[in-house]
């Protein structure tokens, strides 16, 4: 993994540039829309991918996310932090998708046991072991960990995005770390 192994690899620029693009997007600037999609899609996609069953599902979520952003863009106020706003919507997209597909998931359990696949997916760069371990975490702990460690949000930003207190975020993150350490056999 390039850079600091504990650092946030996906954090878009923090200098207010994204916020300025958002304001331009609200003012119907198509170039700002394109720039936002280019800059923000990778971390949001990573957030979805780590919680999805497949890359195709994460791509669907990403498209749904941008449609929601488009509808909700008036609720972003210039001067307010953008990341909690974005991740609150991303989180909602994932929750809605989970609810929508809950019934079909149960039916798919049987078919997922079959070895055949329509086409082999390109191998993910992530370590499968880490990905599996992340999948084994409770959803609330996993999303907090992803926002903190993959998306690079601060504790306060995660608290705002998830609608809970900073103390609750710390607790969930701590439990996630403990759970992962145990699975790694006492800490790597």
């Amino acid at each position: 993994m390039p850079g600091d192994e504990n650092g946030p690899p996906n954090r878009p620029m923090r200098d207010g540039g994204v916020e300025m693009l958002m304001v331009a997007y609200q003012n119907s600037d198509p170039n700002a829309a394109t720039a936002l999609v280019t800059q923000l899609s990778p971390p949001i996609f990573q957030f979805f991918l780590a919680q999805s069953r497949s890359r195709a599902e994460a791509e669907d979520l990403l498209q749904d996310f941008w449609l929601r952003i488009h509808k909700a863009r008036a609720t972003f106020r210039p001067g307010e932090p953008l990341m909690p706003w974005l991740y609150a919507i991303a989180r909602r997209v994932r929750v809605d998708h989970y609810r929508k597909t809950k019934g079909t998931r149960e039916h798919e359990i049987i078919s997922e046991q079959l070895p055949e696949r329509a086409a082999p997916e390109p191998p993910r760069q992530a370590s499968p072991k880490i990905s599996d371990m992340l999948q084994s975490l409770p959803a609330s702990q996993r999303e907090v960990l992803l926002m903190l460690k993959v998306s690079g949000l601060s504790l306060d930003e995660v608290a705002r995005a998830t609608g809970v207190s900073v103390g609750s975020v710390k607790q969930k993150a701590h439990r996630a770390y403990e759970s992962l350490r145990k699975r790694l056999g006492g800490g790597a």
């Binding site: 999609v37 498209q63 008036a74 106020r77 993150a173």
Partner: protein, 228 residues
């Protein structure tokens, strides 16, 4: 917090460029300028101003009969409590309209607190628990409370509909309770009945009904959005 995580998390795995181009094109197809919602302070001022105007207008239409039956101390306690909860409900609704906004108080605690505090206050203010003509005096009150809630709910919807993207069910429940609370405010200005049971059943009942309406509307809109 002990967060010295010493193993690599998933590396960046970007989406396809073609997908991002497709999304950009979709966004650019319909891109009218939008005016951002005002700050929380402005939204709060608008909400409370509308709350005061609508509740006074509706109470004026049916008469400020409560003024004659309440002492100055009772009015101070009653109306201050109503005003405080109006602020709290307005703030709670606004916080949930904006994605990623800090939440001051959970809606469950706020709702329970409103019912308990108002119920206890009325029990302390009015020691009359007589049930003579209980239903006959109660039906007009709950009807006025529900109609007031409905009118305020419809009036505020134009602003409110811009913001229930993240927690629709919870937000619309709170919105229903806020509208129901306006019904309580109208009744506080209008109803001359000094009876604790009357207030707890018929006045708080109007707010409960409005809250239930918000709950069902929230579920309906959320299910409809998910079905799209």
């Amino acid at each position: 917090m002990n967060d010295d995580l010493k193993f690599p998390l998933p590396e960046s795995d970007p989406p396809d460029a073609s997908l991002m181009a497709k999304i950009s094109n979709q966004l650019a197809q319909s891109l009218p300028a939008v005016r951002p919602l005002p700050s929380n302070a402005v939204l709060l001022a608008i909400s409370l101003g509308a709350f005061a105007v609508v509740s006074f207008a509706l109470a004026a239409a049916v008469g400020f009969k409560a003024f004659a039956s309440l002492s100055a101390a009772e009015m101070a306690a009653y109306y201050t409590t109503v005003a405080v909860f109006a602020v709290l409900f307005a703030r709670a609704v606004i916080e949930r309209m904006i994605p990623g906004e800090k939440h001051f108080i959970p809606p469950s605690i706020l709702s329970v607190a409103a019912f308990v505090v108002l119920g206890v206050l009325m029990a302390l203010l009015f020691s009359n628990y007589d049930t003579t003509r209980f239903v006959a005096t109660g039906i007009p009150c709950i009807r006025l409370g529900v109609v007031s809630a409905l009118i305020s709910g419809l009036l505020g919807w134009r602003l409110f509909r811009k913001g229930y993207f993240v927690q629709p069910r919870e937000t619309i429940l709170l919105y229903g309770l806020f509208a129901g609370f306006l019904g309580i405010a109208v009744l506080a200005l209008h109803c001359p009945v000094r009876n604790s049971l009357h207030f707890i059943v018929w006045h708080l009942g109007a707010m409960l009904l409005a809250g239930l309406a918000g709950l069902f509307l929230g579920r309906f809109l959320e299910n409809r959005a998910n079905a799209d």
